[in-house]
């Protein structure tokens, strides 16, 4: 199944979010991918989106497992900090993950606030009855219904 099988409304919403994030101070790139590691849209300078999507999705899934150590609650975010910058990972909709790459001096608290606002864009644009569906199910639903 191609990543293109995901509802185009998710990809469109994601592209708009990526454009807004690109204007956020300290943001160097971003990528939206399915939870099973297929790139949907991206704004990356150089690295292969397919490879980044694979690593992002796997890291989020492992982060969820690790988070279970803290108790049972959904993963909110995962931050990887290095001397060169940070990568912030989040699940933004059912089966969809977002990665944001920042500079080393980026204000991650402000980015976090911006990301929380952006979560609403995904919720508004995502079909409402997707709580247990995979992205591909969402896609098949939308092929039958009107665009969102």
């Amino acid at each position: 199944m191609s990543a293109g099988g995901v509802a185009t409304c998710i990809v469109d919403a994601g592209a708009a979010v990526l454009r807004r994030l690109g204007r956020h101070p300290g943001v160097r790139g971003a990528l939206l991918a399915t939870a099973d590691g297929r790139a949907l849209c991206w704004d990356l300078n150089g690295p292969s989106p397919a490879a980044v999507a694979a690593v992002v999705a796997s890291t989020v899934a492992l982060g969820e497992r690790l988070g279970e150590l803290a108790g049972s609650a959904p993963l909110e975010q995962l931050v990887v900090r290095t001397g060169a910058g940070s990568v912030v990972l989040r699940t933004v909709a059912d089966g969809i993950v977002l990665a944001v790459v920042t500079t080393a001096v980026a204000n991650l608290a402000r980015l976090d606030l911006a990301l929380r606002d952006e979560m609403i864009s995904f919720r508004v644009n995502a079909p409402s009855d997707t709580s247990s569906d995979s992205p591909n199910d969402i896609a098949s639903k939308h092929e039958r219904s009107e665009p969102c």
């Binding site: 199944m1 191609s2 995901v6 399915t34 099973d36 849209c41 704004d43 490879a51 690593v55 492992l62």
Partner: protein
């Protein structure tokens, strides 16, 4: 900065493939031989008994892309390699999310790893996914070793391919066989009678 998005009309069709198998059977080598993009690896140095067999091991996922064509249609297989050791089962589960097909790599010459290959394959077969068993270090034209076939107890209709992952043509054949299975769509579901 510019935002790019997948384009289902213009981009090649992609399938996600899990490349799995026990420790030290050649998963990393296969992906490195075939990938047209730089392979994303998570190899670290081994310690303890494993170090005697191999100096490095994959601890996270590995990612590469293999391009082939299906009757003139370009197809990309997104290769997701996994660690082989039992302790990394969580990583294998994560890599297996949403896969379209599974390449189970086994080494014909390391008999003690066959039971491990069988237990590794069991959860992957549960979903009825297309699976190809690639028998590494075994002549391409030969039938797979009968003892190996018995040890793995794969479902009836499972495709077996023999060869050597060091040979790019053999490695490519393994994946072409899997693509064929994926495009066929119907996975075997009855367990092999003998066990």
């Amino acid at each position: 900065m510019a935002v790019h998005a997948v384009d289902p009309r213009a981009d090649p069709v992609t399938f996600k493939v899990l490349v799995t198998g026990p420790f030290g059977v050649g998963k990393t080598t296969l992906i490195e031989r075939l990938s047209v993009t730089p392979v994303v690896g998570t190899e670290v140095a081994t310690a303890g008994g494993e170090a005697a067999r191999k100096s490095t091991t994959t601890v996270g996922i590995e990612h590469g892309v293999f391009r082939l064509d299906d009757d003139g249609q370009p197809v990309e297989l997104l290769l997701f390699g996994t660690p082989g050791q039992a302790r990394f089962s969580a990583v294998r589960e994560v890599a297996a999310l949403g896969v379209d097909g599974v390449l189970l790599l086994v080494d014909a010459t390391i008999e003690q790893s066959w039971p491990e290959a069988a237990s590794l394959a069991a959860p992957l077969l549960a979903g009825g996914r297309p699976v190809v068993v690639a028998v590494n270090r075994w002549p391409a034209q030969a039938e797979p070793p009968a003892a190996l076939v018995r040890a793995l107890a794969m479902p009836v209709g499972t495709v077996w391919c023999c060869g050597d992952v060091v040979d790019r043509a053999d490695a490519g054949r393994f994946l072409a066989a899997l693509l064929e299975r994926v495009l066929d769509g119907d996975a075997p579901d009855e367990p092999e009678p003998q066990r």
